[in-house]
């Protein structure tokens, strides 16, 4: 049982253009870019089922986080499903799933991004009794992420 974080963004472009941007180097770099001097983004992508998209990003060479995404579903221009592993600064890993859905909406494209698999959210859902303060805090955080579509 998992919980999910969901985000939406209406983009003024066709689903094909949005999908293709997400799978080209410029779009992938934009996804991980930060307005911070010296910010590093290194991305390599093998766009095929089972192919791997690796990204290293961070404020310096000594502080790089690494994301390894494996393409599980590629359904141009409608959907992408990736299994993702985040390798953090201390070498620990967090496995999650990332889904993108691209839907035409009035000449624009609604992008829905769903992030699944936080172990603590799973704990919250399964074990509502006990640790009440922690679960209340988690509920606040997760519901904040679900409360509204973020549209342009």
């Amino acid at each position: 049982m998992t919980h999910e974080l969901r985000f939406e963004r209406l983009i003024d472009a066709t689903p094909e253009a949005v999908f293709d941007s997400f799978t080209d180097p410029g779009g992938q770099a934009a996804f991980y870019e930060v307005d911070e001097p010296g910010w590093i983004v290194r991305s390599e992508c093998d766009l095929r089922i089972g192919g791997v998209w690796t990204v290293e990003f961070g404020p310096s060479e000594a502080e790089l986080t690494r994301h390894r995404h494996v393409f599980e579903i590629i359904d141009r221009p409608r959907r992408l499903l990736l299994s993702s592993t985040e390798t953090r600064l201390d070498g620990s890993n967090l496995d999650t799933e990332l889904e993108f859905v691209f839907e035409e909406q009035g000449g624009e494209t609604l992008v829905t991004m769903v992030h699944r698999g936080f172990p603590t959210a799973e704990l919250r859902d399964e074990h509502r009794v006990g640790l009440p303060n922690a679960f209340a805090q988690l509920a606040r955080v997760v519901s904040a992420g679900l409360q509204r579509p973020k549209a342009k």
Partner: protein, 112 residues
């Protein structure tokens, strides 16, 4: 993202195992001895001790000697740091989608 304290990482590790989550679920119903925890999971006493030890390291469980048994109960840890980490993660994802949208729109505007 700056959110990786050692305790937080250990807490994530502790919560990442389904048996340990089940142990927490069991303890949410009340204290239990190591033996009482072992039975429903089909684990050895040493196996349960190992899981309980990992949970105890991050204060999700506390144990005390009661007679000849070791009794376990939920510990004092609150998952506030974990919740903060998820919050920062959520903001980072939100920003990524926003930046990507701006990139596509700028590119589309150039091509029109």
């Amino acid at each position: 993202m700056q959110h990786h304290g050692a305790t937080l990482d250990r807490t994530f590790f502790a919560l990442s195992d389904p048996t340990r989550r089940s142990i927490l679920e069991r303890l949410a119903g009340g204290p239990a001895t190591i033996g009482e925890l072992a039975a429903p999971f089909g684990l050895t006493l040493n196996g349960v001790k190992k899981h309980v030890g990992i949970l105890e390291e991050v204060d999700l469980v506390k144990t005390a000697k009661v007679g000849r048994s070791r009794e376990c109960q939920l510990g004092p840890a609150e998952l506030v740091d974990v919740a903060r980490w998820i919050d920062s993660y959520r903001h980072a994802l939100e920003r990524r989608l926003e930046r990507f949208g701006a990139y596509v729109e700028a590119r589309t505007a150039r091509d029109r």
